[in-house]
Amino acid sequence: MKPEEKPKVAFFDFAGCEGDQLQIANLEEKILDLLNIVEVVSFREVMTEHSDDYDVAFIEGSITDTHNEERLKEIRENADVLVAIGACATIGGINSIRNVQDFEKVQDRVYGDERDHYEAWEKAKPAKAVVDVDYEVHGCPIDRDEFLHVVQSLVMGREPHIPDHPVCVECKLNENVCAFERDEFCVGPVTRAGCDSCCVNEGTICWGCRGMIDNPNEDAHEEVLEEYGLTAEEVMNKFDLYFAWQKEVRKDE
């Protein structure tokens, strides 16, 4: 099933912390296996060479201004396959917290006196809001094994298995004590699984970095959180950490 020619791949970053590329750089011995199935032509974090001759573009970070938009469109033109990696690129990520805040204040806080020099958008967007995206690797940061699975899938031209069910599935398979039973509250019940519930496995909660599933029951979950004693504002904060862009899109639908 292995194709004859290795696709050329390149990595690009937009508004983000580059933590997802760091995960890839940290694949260690597996990176050699990866190089057996793809040829990396551009990857700023690990190599100095750069080429614009690539088949697959990996996009990290969210799209936050017109300059970003134009650059992403150019990459889309160049690439046969475009893959968004990490929450910023797949769902707007942490950057989209600002989407629900007063933009004047956001600008003041971020740029201070220099704010007039920056033409940032009022709202951060994921890659798919600007161009067609072929594959997504969710998470903040991404899961290395899922990244490898998506790369394998695109090399073979098939759809990867990306779950569309809540994190609760994996959390229960891992026999975790539910955060709600520890008097903590999480958004795992509306968040896309695929992370092997890694945060809850370590004793914390799910913050929702993989974004909401396609058909979440967020109304029920907001109600439940309020029943558990969270204020309306606390509930919103839970949902806006990662879901701000998704929520707005769902509202418009």
Binding site: M1, M156, G157, R158, E159
Partner: protein
Amino acid sequence: MNKEKSPYLPENATILNVEKMAEREKLFEIELDSGEPLNHEPGQFVEVSVPGVGEAPISISSSPTKEGNSFELCIRKVGNVTNVIHTLEEGDQIGIRGPYGEGFPVEELKGHDVIFIAGGLGIAPLRSLINYTLDRREEFEDIKILYGCRKPCELLYEDEVEEWRGMDNIDYRETVDECPDDVCWEGNVGVITTLIPGIDIDLENSYTVVCGPPIMYRFVLQELKQKEVPDERIYLSLERRMKCGVGKCGHCQINGKDGEFYVCQDGPVFNYDIVNDFEEAL
């Protein structure tokens, strides 16, 4: 583990021939590497395996009366497994488990009229029985085949259909939902149900066998009701999600007030009288 023991281990098989039939469908002729015949009944299915991609349940499209040990599968590209199968060529290997399920009640049909109603890809499982009745023509009374698809270019088994058109010992009728202006089509234009009022059904002595997409059943069954065809004289073949094919994984269960079926074991062929009370069946 002992190889013979696992119901989940496929047998190796080799593709002998691939024929493109329409934009999304190809016909694969396959033989088990053991050289043994598949030993299936018309209407049964197999789980086709592409290691590294997965398995998909596919109905067997050839009749067991076909010469030689090979069998045929008509496969539409609709998902990961079938997309990859479409890239395979003569000589490539795949895995096969099965045959599984309850097929058409061939013995019950013998000595009766048989009316086939096929919509789109529904012709694939029906063809296993159509060819069986044609190969043993003397064992059946009148045979009528009503075949409909969306457009003329989606017609499957073109060569065989051409033969059916010319056969004088069967009544073959066809229709397309729509026909583009630049395509030559001499048959009927209209959905499959428009063919039903025009046929004579000997209610006492005939069986109707239906297969098509979920939406088609409702309308075809309504027409048959108009004609007063008794429910127990109608057989249909249903599609469901299946993972194991052997009644374990739970995916293909169909429920109703009066009970439940596993499509992989109790079907895929069902008597309409038995499933018509099943809200989830149709």
